[in-house]
């Protein structure tokens, strides 16, 4: 068992497939969720998978550099900004319509 585990360390494949699985789950969530907060959470899953991809390529293809890490930090900053605006919009829509079900929000106009 220990032999098997130590002879098969996770390579770039394992990491890439892991991040693809996480991204696919996020995509599924974006497509099926009805609550706007649920859609945003699934989008965060996808962003997280993207950061993981950057970091994996940084580690395996260009070790001893930090460009992937920097891009990860940028993505996290943009995700935070996006989450703040989205939450403000949800709260505003909820005040107006008493629901954040995205299948019932057809118009953006007040």
């Amino acid at each position: 068992m220990v032999e098997l585990l130590s002879n098969n360390p996770p390579g770039i494949w394992h990491w890439l497939i892991l991040s693809t699985i996480l991204f696919s789950i996020g995509l599924y969530g974006v497509l099926i969720r009805k609550s706007a907060v649920g859609v945003l959470m699934s989008a965060e899953l996808m962003l997280n998978a993207a950061v993981l991809n950057f970091v994996v390529f940084n580690h395996f293809v260009k070790p001893f550099t930090i460009d992937g890490e920097l891009m990860g930090i940028f993505i996290i900053a943009v995700a935070a900004a996006e989450a703040v605006v989205a939450m403000a919009i949800f709260v505003a829509i909820f005040k107006h319509k008493k629901s954040i079900d995205i299948t019932h929000i057809e118009t953006m106009k007040g």
């Binding site: 693809t20 699985i21 996480l22 995509l27 497509l31 993981l52 403000a88």
Partner: protein, 192 residues
């Protein structure tokens, strides 16, 4: 040997846990539970970054994502009073299309990976936790935070000063936009 075996074991452990919690995020009918599961996924990702030797990014992930965004989501869930709400299952047609598209995406991407030969550097081919030095390159492990700070404010072709400034403007505009969207609408008393 034991060290590498432990690394591989921890990788699979965290990977399966994070996939399981990610499925919880999209499947659960209680939106509050989905937010907690999202926090678990993000903490698992921080663990991945530590395994890939990016400790600073892991710290940023925990502070900004888990400490900031998830808490913000919890606030939004409470403010829109859907914490107690159990949302309906989406219709079968919707779920079918969702599964079809996401599985299709997975297969297309995996095929693309399979067809591509990534130029994996020799030093990391079979080590996970230890960076083995390679000849001709900068071999010593670099001090991440110092390098990050230098790169962020570097004007040269390798620098990132422009995205850094754009991000700062983005954060400022988001702050103003968030306040304006979510505030109470102004009272129209002097209408007549």
């Amino acid at each position: 040997m034991w060290n590498e075996a432990a690394g591989t074991f921890v990788f699979y452990l965290i990977a399966f846990f994070s996939i399981f919690t990610a499925l919880t995020v999209v499947y659960t009918r209680r939106i509050l539970r989905a937010a907690i599961a999202l926090a678990c996924v993000l903490v698992c990702s921080a663990g991945f970054y530590v395994m890939l030797d990016f400790e600073f990014l892991a710290g940023v992930q925990v502070m900004v994502y888990v400490g900031g965004i998830v808490v913000l989501m919890l606030f939004a869930i409470m403010l829109t009073s859907s914490a107690e709400l159990i949302v309906d299952r989406p219709s079968f047609q919707r779920r079918f299309v969702g599964v079809l598209i996401s599985i299709g995406f997975f297969f297309v991407t995996t095929t693309a990976f399979w067809a591509t030969d990534f130029p994996v550097a020799e030093s990391t081919k079979d080590t996970l936790f230890t960076k083995v030095s390679i000849e001709g390159e900068k071999a010593e492990p670099l001090d991440d935070v110092v390098e990050l700070g230098k790169k962020l404010l570097d004007y040269g072709p390798e620098g990132y000063v422009l995205p850094f400034e754009i991000i700062s403007l983005l954060l400022l505009s988001v702050m103003i936009g968030g306040i304006i969207i979510a505030r109470k609408p102004p009272q129209l008393e002097n209408k007549e």
